[in-house]
Amino acid sequence: MVVVENVSKIYYRGREEVYALQDISFEIAEGEMLALVGPSGSGKTTLMNLLGLLDKPSSGRIRINGRYADELGAGEMLRVRREVVGFIYQQFLLIPSMTALQNVMLPMYFAGKKETREIAKTLLERVGLGDRLHHLPAELSGGEMQRVSAARALANNPSMILADEPTGNLDRKSAEDVLRLFGEINAEGKTVIVVTHDTELAGSLPRILSLRDGKLA
């Protein structure tokens, strides 16, 4: 359960205040799947960073699974970031010199987990890349890279997946595959939030949160 309460985020451009987000409030129930849409500059990425605990709101509060983010200590913050949120990016952001398997193992290493190889292997098999374990990102197609990225986001078994324009760099067919994968992940009870400006994609999801000029439309 994610609760956003009157959150604003202000950036400073010189002395000028720029509202990336302005007093927004909403809730996302556990296991929900939704699209966060809006034109560029509407505050989508800012909101995603706040939900992923990579950034702090200028005012307002965010509650994740019953805990207010601003009450978490540095160590807890890291733990929540590891165990509650999994990120997927438009440019995949895989480490180019590491194999698919190693890329998926990485978040587990940071979480101090053991037996990471078996888990990573299972995850890659699950996203349909059982035969690509030892390939480097450069040897994979865009759709495959995004599936590695999804496997990586799932590595620490988070309750929420945050995907920032996950299909932006993919062809139609790969995009559909990735969305189908998201559907499966959601079906297992994980919350999936897809940030996109693709209205068609957004229309296929059960719920749409629309941002415009930092406000919910």
Binding site: L54, I95, Q102
Partner: protein
């Protein structure tokens, strides 16, 4: 997956730059290992040589103290001689236990010059390491005893096969027949390279009648050395050089070169360190997004810091291993290396593989690695993921 997977992944990705950094550190480590080892080897060899010398004080004619040290350590001809009467004067000093006079010169044999010392039976008492390996001490005119190396050389080049043989040598153009009556056991000092004869015969051979060049003196009481030196120098024309002075002079001569080498070494280490720092900083800049990504995955600041620190340390560690291996080669060739620029070389080898050098050559480069990686690692760990992960 462990920390090394990630560290070596980082190093592997910029091979050339990593190799250059490793070379920089390796050169510094090599210089450090070689210098510290050879310095220790040189001192050990010199000290053992001086131990072999046996004498606590050497009396000789007044002159340049450096020449005196060179004479004591290396042999060689000195124009100034002491009157043989001086030996009696020296023996009158209460603290003097033994005074063994030497006449020194050289003869030519088979196209080479060989240094000769005229000695008395007292010489054996001054030199505790002496053991006659074959035959006996020279007792009569024309009899010689060879140092062990001299004997080996003669056996190899001149077909010499044992005590009792005669050789014909030339002194100032005049032929002289000598009988080899003994061979001195190995002493690991310059004595191995000297030919010994009786004092009287050497005095006649080298036109030093009633004269001596040096007097090797052993004292009863080492604590009174300063007083004894004072008493010795009250004898006209006598200069007294103590073993400590010899050591000091030798170290002084080596020290000038050493100070310069140390400066070069410090520079090499600094440059190596800066090279590593540069590599690490560039790595951090290049991997900004990657670091941000790792942080978004939940990597703690400490873990990021460690990864980059270990990368720097790994480069320096590999560099210092290579440097020590190369330095080992330089130490092995140490005698040839040092004789090029040191005025005095011990007759023993200076090639000593010092544990201290090994420890320093590991500790210093790794220390520098840590220092040069701290700032880049700190930068990496303080990176703000939001900024770095923005969609461009």
């Amino acid at each position: 997956m462990n920390v090394f997977t990630i560290v070596f992944d980082g190093i592997r990705r910029r091979k050339i730059r990593s190799i250059l950094s490793v070379i920089g550190i390796a050169i510094a480590a090599m210089a450090l290992f070689t210098m510290v080892s050879l310095r220790e080897g040189y001192e050990t060899a010199m000290e053992s040589e001086l131990d072999q010398m046996g004498a606590h004080v050497v009396a000789l004619a007044k002159g340049c103290p450096y020449e005196a040290v060179a004479l004591i350590m290396m042999g060689g001809e000195v124009p100034d001689t002491l009157s043989a009467d001086v030996v009696d004067e020296i023996e009158k000093i209460p603290n003097v236990a033994i005074a063994a006079p030497n006449a020194l010169g050289a003869y030519e044999h088979m196209g080479e010059m060989h240094s000769v010392a005229g000695i008395t039976p007292k010489e054996k008492e001054v030199k505790p390491g002496w053991e006659v390996a074959e035959g006996r001490f020279p007792e009569n005119s024309g009899e010689v005893m060879l140092g062990s190396e001299k004997a080996a050389m003669l056996a190899e080049e001149g077909g010499f096969d044992g005590v009792g043989e005669q050789i014909t040598v030339s002194v100032d153009g005049e032929a002289e027949d000598l009988e080899i009556v003994g061979i001195l056991g190995e002493t690991a000092s310059r004595d191995d390279n000297t030919t010994y004869t009786t004092l009287e015969f050497a005095q006649r051979l080298f036109d030093q009648e009633d004269e001596v060049i040096t007097v090797n003196i052993q004292l009863n009481e080492l604590g009174m050395m300063d007083d004894t030196v004072e008493q010795l120098e009250e004898i006209p024309d006598v200069q007294a050089v103590t073993v400590d002075q010899v050591i000091g002079t030798v170290q002084g001569m080596a020290g000038t070169g050493e100070a310069m080498l140390m400066a070069v070494l410090a520079l090499a280490l600094l440059i190596g360190g800066l090279g590593t720092m540069n590599t690490m900083l560039m790595t951090v800049f290049e991997r900004t997004r990657e670091v941000a990504l790792m942080k978004a995955m939940g990597a703690s600041d400490g873990k990021i810091f460690n990864l980059f620190l270990m990368e720097g340390v790994a480069i320096c560690l590999v560099g210092s291993f290579i440097g020590i291996a190369l330095g080992g080669g330089a130490v092995w060739a140490g005698d040839a290396l040092l004789s090029g620029f040191l005025p005095l070389m011990p007759s023993q080898t200076v090639s000593l593989f010092s544990g201290q050098a090994l420890a320093l050559s590991l500790a210093f480069p790794v220390g520098i690695g840590v220092l040069s990686a701290v700032y880049p690692a700190l930068r990496a760990s303080r990176l703000e993921p939001v900024e770095a992960l923005k969609n461009e």
